[in-house]
């Protein structure tokens, strides 16, 4: 091996050195010396020279030998093969076009899905030493509030920072979208609150000014009114102007100073989206969150990342952190907030574990949501490519059969079989490279299409469709692999030619060997099997989407229900002012022409967003571990009317429920529950007048149920209807966010600018965001399902078309080969129908064989996709039957055309054929 490498290096040197001339000199002098010796032995000079040459051997042959040794013969041959292959392909443009297009479809589909998969799942973060980066979060019940996935409380974060031995540079971050005023105009910007050591830990330098440091920006609660811009936002919003340093901007109306810009290319820890600005975590009070969050151990809301120390694996770090974590849990149980928990809850609490997972490629909600879907799609795209490959292989086999004579001639005049195989493979590679080039171009368009299917409201989505070096490399790799995959078998098959019989065969005969016909049949069988997989998958995903979409939302006419958000919370608005702002907004909107009613709620519906809590219910003794969870919402009066949710019993909220000052905990409050809640806890009895409370030990059942409403969806159709409790907005003692809902009798789109105008009149600095119809919202919450369903249907259709082409090709080939036989049968009086059956029988056999392979495979694969399904079993019979039916029809059609041709054969011509 090593000496092979040295030989290669020597050849490389030989390319540049004048070795050949030196060697010529040597050989000349050798011949001279030999001649002199013969003369000395008494030969004549002429004889001596001849004898010397004889003794030296064939100099020309030697020269050839040496050239082979000293130069890259294979390289020169390769170039020759490339030119030859290109000429062959040009000579048969139809074949080349079909093959390249087929491959382009396959490679394009793969590249498109891979582009997204790579950016969202595979790529490492552009930070220092990403391999050692981990994400840390506690799993299990917190007995408090949790926000979003994988949340950690701020005090626990501090514990890790101070005490975790396996970790260094523990950082925390919190994502939010805030109203930021720059030069008088206000926009919603992605804002990331980060710990002071954030940039230092990730090794991200400032591009301008400074970034945060633990010393300067992580000391005083509310004491660091400073902002670092992301490079991209700086370039887009400020045109890269260095004078932004020292500029004052308002974050939720709180003045803060721009002190720097982070390095170009650094987007953050989420590969799918990027914050525009970053603020120190101690500036949390500026955000409309509960300021208590920084000291409350029961509030989990942060993401925590860290580096594992050298010498620790992720697993070792995880194990070594558990004792510390349990010590923290024990301490937390001593706190007053948890002093009254039941023994059961206490045991559950102590069973919590600390999760540590590599974060080398960051953390992304979008990834959590889409990665399985993308993996499934990648698998499907791979199947498409396999079908495309087998199709092209089929084409190549019939081509090789047609080229048998050419190959026989080349073999007869002394080409080695290896040389021929190589030149055929080069031809395949030319096809696959051309296919890859076209496929890459197609994938850019396709990726844009895919991105358009992801909801991107308000976020700076970092995913893009432009191919980069990695994608190009992927394309080249796929091209080479496919070229070999579809080229090898036909090349091996095609060069196994009986030279003698091929050459003596009469011109025009198609004597494709029995082997190549069998190979083609195997390929078509595989295509049918793969197509079945894809069709069954497409059927399952389409059915999932349909059943999700047809899940009754419990709301009326989503198309004329407009929703939007506006967020006045911040230092400039008191709780009362916020309440007034909401009331004024609702009043102004209700007065608009074409508006039937308007209301607000705190939790946006069908948003994948939830706020839930455990309840205690009058007359219901909760067993240990019983699910007492209910989904909460806080609403204004008129909410049910606006949403179209009918009242079953009792009443809606109204002015009676208005909170009029004093200690809110003393005032008996009112709630409305949905039918599911009522049936769950009260059975057939009426819930009206009964009481509920929160499940905290010793808490009183202070809330009276005043109404029961019909069921409606909450976070999304997948989660179905949940037991729900509605609270009156008037009672809230803290500033709450608001989602507005407007029921219109006119065109929803026309209402958008009018509503914006209304809000601008009340406060021009507040941006209106997430404005759309609830119908659009429903589509967005189903975007994963839509993505999978529509792509898999496209893939399924593509697969079916390719399989049809393959079947047609095989049958056309078979009929052409059997022309003489069929002609003979017809001449002997075989009825047309039996000829038709002769051909169709073979089609059915191929179809049956394909299904025989495909159905069990589909069954085996179904469990990998079951997590993506809804309302349909992975082994759904109707989907299976539909896929079989589609394939059957397609097979019949693609077999029928050659079959018809066979019946139309004129026995006279057929017998003269050859």
């Amino acid at each position: 091996m090593n000496s092979g490498l040295r030989t290669f290096a020597a050849k490389l040197r030989g390319l540049f050195a004048g070795q050949k001339d030196e060697m010529d000199d040597e050989i000349r002098s050798h011949l001279r010396l030999l001649t002199e010796r013969f003369i000395a032995n008494g030969s004549s000079p002429k004889d001596a020279a001849a004898a010397a040459r004889r003794q030296f051997g064939n100099a020309a042959l030697l020269e050839e030998d040496r050239r082979e040794q000293q130069t890259f013969r294979p390289m020169e041959n390769l170039w020759r093969d490339v030119r030859y292959g290109a000429r062959q392909l040009r000579r048969n443009p139809l074949f080349a076009t079909i093959a390249v297009l087929t491959l382009a479809l396959g490679i394009g589909a793969n590249t498109a899905v891979f582009t997204l998969l790579d950016q969202l799942v595979l790529r490492l973060l552009p930070v220092r030493d990403p391999a050692r980066l981990v994400m840390i979060w506690p799993a299990g019940p917190n007995l408090g509030n949790t926000e979003g996935p994988r949340p950690v409380s701020y005090p626990m974060y501090q514990d890790f920072q101070r005490k975790a031995e396996a970790l260094e540079s523990v950082i925390c971050q919190y994502d939010a979208a805030e109203s930021v005023t720059i030069d008088g105009s206000t926009e919603r910007l992605n804002t990331e609150a980060v710990s002071g050591n954030y940039f230092e830990a990730l090794g991200v330098a400032p591009a301008l000014g400074r970034v945060f440091s633990p010393e300067m920006d992580d000391r005083v609660y509310r004491g660091h009114p400073v902002v670092v811009l992301s490079h991209r936002f700086w370039a887009e919003r400020f045109g890269g102007d260095p004078r932004v340093l020292g500029k004052k901007i308002l974050v939720n109306n709180y003045p803060m100073e721009i002190v720097g810009v982070s390095a170009a290319g650094f987007a953050g820890l989420d590969p799918s989206s990027s914050p525009h600005i970053r603020i120190p975590i101690l500036m949390l009070p500026v955000l409309p969150t509960d300021g208590e969050s920084l000291v409350d151990r029961r509030a989990q809301w942060l993401h925590v990342f860290a580096r594992v120390k050298p010498g620790y694996t992720v697993q070792a770090a995880r194990a070594s952190l558990q004792p510390l974590f349990h010590q923290i849990l024990e301490e937390e149980l001593q706190e007053p907030a948890l002093s009254k928990v039941s023994p059961y809850d206490r045991a559950q609490f102590l069973k919590r574990t600390l999760e540590v997972e590599t974060a080398a490629n960051g953390y992304s909600d979008l990834r959590q949501q889409y990665s399985t879907a993308l993996m499934v799609l990648m698998g499907m795209a791979g199947l498409i490519l396999l079908i495309a490959c087998s199709n092209v292989a089929g084409l190549l086999i019939s081509r090789a059969a047609a080229r048998q004579k050419e190959i026989a001639v080349r073999l007869a005049i002394g080409a080695g079989r290896r040389t021929l195989i190589r030149s055929l493979l080069v031809e395949s590679l030319l096809l696959s490279v051309a296919g890859a080039a076209l496929g890459l171009a197609m994938s850019v368009v396709a990726t844009r299409g895919l991105l358009a299917m992801l909801p991107r409201e308000g976020t700076l989505l970092m995913l893009h469709a432009q191919p980069d070096a990695r994608i190009l490399l992927f394309g080249v790799g796929v091209a080479l692999a496919t070229g070999l995959l579809f080229g090898l078998a036909p090349a091996l098959q095609g060069t196994r030619v009986d030279v003698w019989s091929s050459l003596k065969d009469a011109a025009g005969s198609l004597s494709g060997g029995r082997n190549s016909a069998r190979l083609r049949r195997i390929l078509v069988t595989a295509q049918v099997a793969l197509s079945f997989l894809l069709l069954a998958g497409a059927g399952l995903f389409a059915k999932t989407l349909i059943s999700l979409k047809s899940t009754g939302t419990g709301l009326q006419d989503l198309g004329s229900l407009v929703t939007f958000q506006v967020d006045p919370r911040g230092p400039h608005y008191s709780v009362t002012q916020i309440r007034d702002f909401y009331a004024n907004t609702l009043e102004a909107i209700r007065a608009l022409p074409g508006v039937k009613s308007a209301a607000l709620s705190v939790v946006p519906l069908l948003h994948g967003f939830e706020w839930n809590g455990n309840v205690a219910v009058e007359g219901h003794q909760a067993k240990d571990g019983e699910d007492m969870n209910a989904a909460n919402n806080v609403i204004s009066p008129g909410y049910f009317l606006t949403m179209g949710i009918p009242l079953v019993a009792g009443r809606d909220f109204d002015d009676r429920d208005r909170f009029d000052g004093g200690d809110p905990s003393l005032k008996p409050s009112v709630v409305i529950v949905n039918r599911k809640f009522a049936e769950r806890f009260f059975g057939k009895q009426s819930p009206i007048g009964r009481h509920i409370g929160n499940s905290k030990p010793g808490a009183k059942l202070t809330a009276e149920i005043v109404g029961e409403v019909e069921n409606a969806l909450y976070d999304g159709p997948r989660q179905a209807v949940r037991p729900q409790v509605y609270y009156a907005q008037y009672e809230a003692p803290v500033p709450l966010a608001a989602v507005f809902y407007v029921r219109t009798t006119t065109d929803a789109g026309a209402l958008f600018p009018v509503v914006r105008g209304v809000v601008a009149k009340l406060d021009p600095t507040l941006p209106v965001f997430e404005m759309k119809t609830v119908e659009t919202q429903m589509d967005e919450v189903l975007s994963t399902e839509r993505l999978i369903a529509s792509l898999s249907v496209v893939f399924g259709a593509l697969a079916t078309v390719l399989a049809a082409l393959g079947l047609y090709g095989v049958m056309a080939f078979a009929v052409a080969k059997r022309t003489k036989e069929i002609g003979l049968r017809v001449a002997l009086g075989a009825p047309r129908r039996s000829v038709l059956w002769l051909v169709l029988r073979e089609v059915l056999l191929l179809l049956g064989a394909g299904l025989l392979v495909g159905v069990p495979c589909a069954y085996a694969f179904s469990r990998y996709v079951s997590s993506q399904l809804f309302g349909v079993a992975p082994t759904d019979l109707s989907v299976c039957a539909a896929a079989v039916l589609v394939l059957g029809v397609v097979a019949a059609v693609s077999g029928f055309v050659p079959a018809r041709r066979a019946t139309a054969i004129d026995p006279l011509t057929a017998l003269r054929y050859e």
């Binding site: 000496s3 040295r6 030989t7 020597a10 050849k11 030196e22 060697m23 040597e26 050989i27 002098s29 050798h30 010396l33 030999l34 003794q55 030296f56 051997g57 064939n58 100099a59 042959l61 030697l62 030998d65 040496r66 040794q69 000293q70």
Partner: protein, 120 residues
């Protein structure tokens, strides 16, 4: 590949691969030599049993140079001509030892096999 051709029946063809071994051994035994010298030495030792196309010596030299088993240098020959001298390298010595061992093992086996046939 060596392209030695037996002109008359009495001379054996140089076995494939053995020429390299002979060249290496020659350089090992005699020290640095030029191509002509190597050819003479092999001719002398083979006592006209082997038919050697001397040109193939150069093919062998190129091959050995590329593998790094020999090195070459310009020097002056006995009759004051500028000539390229080849010498065996450290790696070449190791290779020689390895190949000699292989050769002896194989020739031993073949010898035994041939004797076996003789006893029948």
């Amino acid at each position: 590949m060596t392209k030695g051709k037996a002109v008359d029946g009495k001379k054996s063809e140089v076995l494939q691969g053995t020429l390299d071994l002979m060249v290496l051994k020659t350089l090992h035994a005699l020290g640095p030599q030029h191509g002509f010298g190597i050819a003479r030495r092999i001719e002398q030792l083979s006592e006209d049993v082997l038919k050697l196309n001397e040109g193939t010596v150069y093919t062998s030299l190129v091959r050995l140079l590329q593998r790094g088993w020999i090195a070459s240098d310009w020097g002056t020959s006995e009759n004051n001509r500028k000539a390229r001298f080849y010498s065996i390298t450290k790696r070449g010595l190791k290779q020689l030892a390895r190949e000699t061992e292989d050769w002896e093992r194989i020739s031993g086996v073949i010898g035994r096999v041939l004797r076996l046939e003789g006893e029948r």
